[in-house]
Structures are given as structure tokens and as C-alpha cells.
Symmetry: C2
Subunit: 328 residues, 2 copies
């Protein structure tokens, strides 16, 4: 792929859309007008480690890299700002594929109110996309941290879980599709799409801050692992009722076809990029209303208490031993 040609293509794709941008690509650095507080996160995905080109198109890869980075900003509750992309392409990469990767990233950015503001392109032995995203706030107290939870608070989760993990099982052929009826095929397609094209919960993250949530983390490694991160940082214990996890449609059938426990899959598989959060009981109604206004779903799945352990409880009250860290 011709680097200069590709860069020119990328610069065309990065039409300025934000009033914040003073200088876009083409100078030594991109220049933006700031708000008082910046939240910045980096997310890198590597071919053969985080995805495989046999199950993901280049467009899927571009979308997923940006979505994973933006999901961190969603968990902070910041306003979305800019994204900067480091793209490493094997020399054999067709230009058209590289451009479709960038276009998918641009499409997600535009829908999310994010400005692609710069980056670089270089050759390398495997496809790799590293995305640095910056979000903005007026004060640091307007952001949600992992350590803000307190004892005797509710634990909630946005959206539906297990979809990405079930989609990956389907892509790997480790679970037959639920059946061949029309509805089930659509369900399988939705699960696979969920794995390939996760959606960062940016608006919902901001709504959580505004409605009184106290801490949040995005579900990239899986609830079992990410709940431990939140518990560790907040210095408390978390109890999660596994049967209350909001499973995406089709997850139960796919899990059974792969001889897996559906709730275990939802808690361990990761990459759903939903938000796990805490809130005092008196914020419950405001959070439910805010989610409803956005047409989104929140589910209360547990509570915090004194201590340091995360306990994942089955329907019979026994504790599940879920290790987490199972994501592709």
C-alpha cells in the first residue's frame, strides 16, 4: 500500500466536523480548543491476538478499535472529543481494505460525535490499530471513576450481556446456530454483529453521571474481571446475582449448544462494552428514567458491601468460580 496515497485518502476521509478542531491532519500535530478537563485512553488491537481476518472484515477491525477506545470514555462519563489512530499495515494490505477500515472508523466517529483528528500509518508484520481518544468535561468532579463506589450501593449494568461472547462462539464454529427458523438466524446474525461491531455507550455514560451514579467501568474483559477492578479500586466487596444478568437474545441457546453455562458465558466472555456501575438507592429512579429517555436499558444485578471480594451467586445461592480473562 502506498503510504502517501493512503494518507491522502485518510485526510480526505477526515473532513472536519467539530468546531473544536483548529488544525487537523497535515501539520506536526493536530490542534484543538479544549475544555477544562481532558480524559484520555489508549486501546490497541492486534491481528491474531484480538481479532482474526478470517472472522472480521477490515471495516469490522476499524470499527472495533475505535469502539473499544470510546467505551473507556463512556465509562468516564466524559463528552466525546477526538480520536488519533496509529495504523500498522502489512505491506500486502490492499489500499481499498485499508481505506474501508478508516471509513468504518469515520462512520462510527461521526455517529458518536467524535472527531478523527490525526494519527500515523506505517508498515509492520501484522495488522494493528491503536486508538487514542480524548473526551472532555468542565470539572473533574463531573467524571465517573472506578473508585467512587461506596458500601450499600446498587450495582447496575447497561444493555445486554453475553452477546459478543456468543457471537465469537458462532464465528469459531463452537456452537451451532440455535436452529434454522427465521427468527433464530436473525438472532445469530445479531450476536455476530455484536461481536464485530460493539457500540460504545457514550450517551448512557454521561446520563449515569448526571443521574447520580458513583463509579463505572466498561465491560471489556468481562464482568467477572471488571467487577474485581471496580471492587479493588473502590476498596469494597461486590455481590452479583448471576440469574439477574440481562442476557442478549440467543445467548442461552448458543451457550447450551457450546456446553457452556449461559450466565457464566455472559460474566466471563467480555467485549460486550456495556457499563458496570454503582449508585445509591436514591439514584435508582433517576437512572432508570435517564436510560429510558435514551431508549436504553439498565438492570440492577447486585450490591456493594464492606470487604474486598467479588461474589458471583447462582440461583441456588452457591458461588460461581469464574476466572474472567477469557476474551479473544
Amino acid at each position: 500500500v502506498g503510504e502517501l496515497e493512503l494518507i491522502a485518502g485518510i485526510e480526505r476521509a477526515l473532513r472536519e466536523s467539530s468546531g473544536r478542531l483548529v488544525r487537523g491532519p497535515g501539520d506536526d500535530a493536530a490542534v484543538v480548543a479544549t475544555d477544562p478537563i481532558a480524559a484520555t485512553s489508549v486501546d490497541t488491537i492486534v491481528e491474531g491476538v484480538h481479532f482474526d481476518l478470517s472472522t472480521h472484515s477490515y471495516a469490522d477491525v476499524g470499527h472495533k478499535a475505535l469502539a473499544a477506545a470510546l467505551s473507556d470514555l463512556a465509562a468516564m462519563g466524559s463528552r466525546p472529543g477526538e480520536a488519533y489512530t496509529a495504523l500498522v499495515l502489512p505491506p500486502s494490505t490492499p489500499s481499498s481494505e485499508a481505506l474501508s477500515l478508516v471509513s468504518a472508523m469515520e462512520a462510527l466517529a461521526e455517529r458518536s460525535g467524535v472527531q478523527l483528528a490525526g494519527g500515523d500509518v506505517t508498515a509492520g508484520p501484522a495488522l494493528m490499530v491503536s486508538v487514542t481518544v480524548t473526551g472532555w468535561a468542565d470539572a473533574s468532579s463531573e467524571l465517573l471513576y472506578r473508585d467512587g463506589a461506596d458500601e450499600h450501593q446498587l450495582v447496575g449494568v447497561t444493555g445486554e450481556l453475553g452477546g459478543s461472547g456468543a457471537g465469537l462462539l458462532l464465528l469459531r464454529g463452537e456452537a451451532a446456530g440455535p436452529d434454522t427458523a427465521g427468527r433464530a438466524i436473525a438472532e445469530s446474525d445479531a450476536l455476530i454483529r455484536r461481536h464485530r461491531r460493539p457500540e460504545p455507550r457514550l450517551e448512557l455514560g454521561r446520563a449515569l453521571v448526571d443521574s447520580g451514579a458513583t463509579a463505572a467501568i466498561d465491560l471489556s474483559d468481562g464482568l467477572a474481571t471488571d467487577a474485581r477492578h471496580l471492587a479493588l479500586r473502590s476498596g469494597l466487596a461486590i455481590e452479583v446475582r448471576l440469574p439477574d444478568l440481562p442476557l442478549a437474545a440467543g445467548v442461552a441457546a448458543v451457550a447450551r449448544a457450546a456446553a457452556r453455562d449461559p450466565w457464566g458465558l455472559a460474566a466471563e466472555a467480555g467485549e460486550d462494552f456495556e457499563l458496570l456501575f454503582t449508585a445509591p438507592e436514591d439514584a435508582r429512579a433517576a437512572i432508570e428514567r435517564a436510560a429510558d429517555t435514551l431508549g436504553e436499558r439498565v438492570t440492577w444485578i447486585g450490591h456493594t458491601s464492606a470487604g474486598s471480594r467479588v461474589r458471583l451467586l447462582r440461583a441456588d445461592g452457591s458461588e460461581a468460580d469464574l476466572s474472567g480473562y477469557e476474551h479473544s
Copy 2:
């Protein structure tokens, strides 16, 4: 390398040093207090493409990745701010080497007034370091852009040129060391160090803005190429007198040993990470004084005029045909 162990080591290395940092590593994003204008740049180096572990230590690689990124901020004349690192490590990488890479980065950051504020670590098929840096300014007019040059201005360069290119020739065994006398060996060592451990000209970049410079670019691709970038963006012609290029000590001898023209090497080899800049005649004295105050050197090597071409002139007035893009 154990990812969690390494991340813990990195978090220890990233002792907070800047009052700007509200949250460092360990949350979903790093949080910093801003100034009104942010300048952000991304630079990625990949094993086998930009460096080779037979000629660079892991510490060299960490230093170089951050230096190359900061050099872009130097060319903008911004105050240095934060750096975010995406580190891709082959599974066989010894933990101690990964930590020495991060420590070298931390040492350069500390000397440069830069806060390492976050990043991620992942596995991959080759060592790769992508660094995103953000610098700050009070107004966009306080920054130096590539398009700010005007006709009939001076063209200057900071420091000395050709050192990195000559160092690479020595490392590759394409040029014998000048001789075996003590002084010449020290010269060779300095050239090699120049290639492995470039220094971003952050203070000098800010001094250039303050002293009336009108445009700047950092010399990463080599003067022949980077002068074209500046000329293109500013919409004018640039004439450079090759014999006036400030060659680093030993460059002439190394170039001759490799059957290369010394000034051609200095103009084409790149990675010196000095600054090429323009300024009106009446800013000349202020710029020289500012450089002198910092113990740094500036050299006037040409001028701008109407047109669009970059002409590199030899001592006899003939035009050299230098393609640029020769860097490792």
C-alpha cells in the same frame, strides 16, 4: 511477559510528577487539567521497519519512540504535556527488557517535563511502540505551523545534521569508523548515540515561537523531504545552500568512508529530529540570542521566495537531486 506484572511495574515507574494530572494509570482513562489549546501527535515505531534489535537496545527503542513523538510538539512550539504509550510485545520479550524500555521512556519524559499518563500493553508478533503526546498552549496563535512561512524569509535549522544518518551507517557496518585515534572513536560513539537517542528540541521550539519564527517542521524524514512539506503547506519556494548545513562532527568522514556526499547524507538521511524553521530577517538577532541563552545552535541555511519548488544548491551553484525518504 506477564501482562499484569508488567502493568504493575509500569504503574510504579509512572510516579506522578505533574500537577496537571488528576488521574494517572489504573482508571478507564487518564484525567488531566488542560490549558486552552491542545496539540496532539502520534508516532509509531515497529521492529524490522524503523529499528532493529541487533543495533538498538530495548531502552534505545523506548527513548526513540518518545523522542520522535515529542519532536512533533517541539516543532509546534507547545509546552510539553502528557504521553500515552501503546506497547506491543512479542510473548518472548523478557520482562526486564520491557521494563528497561519503559524506564528509558520515563527518564526522557522526566528530563523533558512530560508526564507519562497512560497507555496499554498487548501481545503481538513484533515489538512496536506507538506514542501519543499532547502539548499545551494558551492560544492557537502561540503555536508554529507548517503553513506560516512567507516570501523573502530566512530558513534556519537547529543543532547539527547528518549525525543520525552517519550513526546508522556505522551501526550497519557500511562505513568504517574514521580512524582509531581516541577523538575519532568518541566521534563515532556520539554519532551512534545520536541515532539511538535523539533529543527533541522542546525548549528551542518554544524559544523560536517567542522570538518571531513563522513556521517550523521537525526533521524526521530528512531535510530534503521535510523542506518540501513546509514549502507545500506554506505555498512558496525554498532555496537551501547545502554547504551551509551544520554537519555534526564526524559526518564528513563517515560519509566519505561510505562513498557518500556528506551534505547529501545530511539532507537525506533523516531522524536528526532538529527543527527546520522560517523567520523574517528582523527576527534573526532575537532567535540567535534565544538559542544562545539555551546553549543551542541555529544556522541560517537558505531563504523562501515565490513559487513552489525546493532547490538544494551545491557550492558550485548546481542543484542537487535528493529524493529524501531514505530513513531506516
